[in-house]
């Protein structure tokens, strides 16, 4: 009986120890493999984030270069010939002409110089509208929409419901650029006949909504374009809004008659410190 008890104890001890050991080693191996899987997954995520940032940066650089080329073209094609023509009128031979012809030449040169001044003023205003700096986002957007309506190409209107306190100037500039870019896209691609912009404040967030009746984008189209190498303007919009911790949504209205773009930006106080990246833009 003692031998039986001893062999029973030995069996329990042997199999129990082997079983526990197998479970423990199995658990440790599982933990190690699980960790490796997690590390590989994190590596893939990091790589994807890196690729996305690289794409946004490239888009931003290309956009800047295109803008510089446009400014250069405006100056070269418009301002350059105007000034060259004014110069033609004001040459040394003028002293040999009669007073009447001299006065006419001076008058023509003055007209051309006035036109050149207006042109350069327009280029400068399109780069940095003084209304935005002096009177704020609401006035600048109103001006912009009045210019669009005035051109006769479409009916553009805007309404700010709750903009008693101005945002930080850098925030206003970025939001204005985003609105400009969106309007450029609508004018270029959508064939719309009207654009309407509304502004609301909800809690600590500013909402800007733009409706138009042309061909627009849905959120799925926006995300697809963002992942591709094209869609420079949209990538620029996204990187600008990222600086403000803002978001943008594209959708088609439920009635299927118009497209809507919603920009959501958290409000910063006017005197609050802004990150250097925002200031650079």
């Amino acid at each position: 009986m003692q031998v039986e008890a001893e062999s029973k104890i030995s069996l329990v001890l042997f199999f129990g120890t082997i079983g526990m050991l197998a479970l423990t080693i199995g658990l440790i191996i599982f933990i190690i493999f699980h960790q490796r899987k997690v590390i590989r997954y994190q590596g893939t995520l990091q790589k994807m984030e890196h690729e996305q940032q690289k794409m946004l940066l490239n888009a931003s650089i290309r956009f800047q270069e295109e803008e510089r080329q446009r400014i250069a073209a405006d100056l070269h094609d418009d301002a350059g010939p105007l000034l060259a023509t004014a110069r033609l009128y004001l040459n040394e031979n003028m002293v040999n002409l009669d007073k009447g012809t001299q006065l006419q030449s001076i008058y023509n040169a003055k007209q051309i110089i006035d036109d050149t001044i207006q042109l350069i003023r327009n280029i400068s205003h399109s780069l940095m509208p003084p209304t935005l700096k002096n009177f704020g986002l609401e006035s600048a957007v109103n001006d912009l929409f009045q210019k669009i309506s005035g051109s006769g190409s479409m009916n553009a209107s805007c309404r700010f419901h709750d903009y008693r306190e101005r945002l930080h100037p850098d925030q206003e500039l970025i939001i204005f650029r985003v609105i400009q870019e969106l309007i450029n896209n609508i004018l270029k691609h959508s064939n719309a006949s009207f654009i309407h912009l509304t502004q609301n404040l909800s809690g600590n967030k500013l909402f800007i909504r733009m409706h138009h009746d042309g061909r627009g984008l849905t959120q799925a189209d926006f995300e697809k374009l963002n992942k591709s190498t094209g869609g420079l303007g949209l990538k620029n919009i996204q990187s600008r809004l990222k600086l403000l911790h803002g978001r943008i949504f594209f959708e088609k209205d439920l009635s299927q008659t118009y497209y809507k773009v919603t920009i959501e930006v958290p409000k910063l106080e006017e005197d609050a410190p802004v990150s250097p990246q925002v200031l650079q833009h």
């Binding site: 001893e6 104890i9 050991l21 658990l27």
Partner: protein, 122 residues
């Protein structure tokens, strides 16, 4: 007094079993917390992991040995005690690895701090 005056030396299996159960549960809990923490990248680069694994292996390996110890005869005890020796060795090996990990980690921290200061001065 009875504890100090008693000459009947034996292992209290029940107490040890309960103690090892608690240790095993704590080790499992620690490992679960470590693998579910998203900030943890490499679990085995921490010295704590090696200490816990050493204790865990020792507890599971000698669990049944100590559970049956009060029923064992002296001969059986002599026969099966190598289990305890082997797992003690394994546990101490893991503790050694943990000590080296700790030493290397603290060296790296000191080196980083020194380099950081140098770069700041430069």
């Amino acid at each position: 007094y009875q504890y100090f005056s008693s000459t009947n030396y034996s292992i209290d299996s029940l107490t040890i079993t309960v103690e090892y159960l608690f240790i095993i549960i704590y080790c499992l809990f620690y490992l679960f917390e470590e693998i579910t923490d998203p900030n943890n990248s490499i679990i085995y680069s921490s010295f704590k992991f090696w200490i816990v694994i050493g204790i865990f292996l020792y507890s599971t390996g000698t669990f049944f040995f100590f559970m049956q110890s009060d029923k064992m005869s002296d001969a059986e005890w002599e026969q099966w005690s190598p289990i305890n020796h082997v797992f003690t060795l394994i546990k101490n090996l893991f503790f050694t690895i943990a000590i080296f990990m700790r030493k290397n980690n603290s060296h790296d921290t000191i080196q980083q701090k020194t380099e950081g200061n140098y770069m700041r001065d430069y």
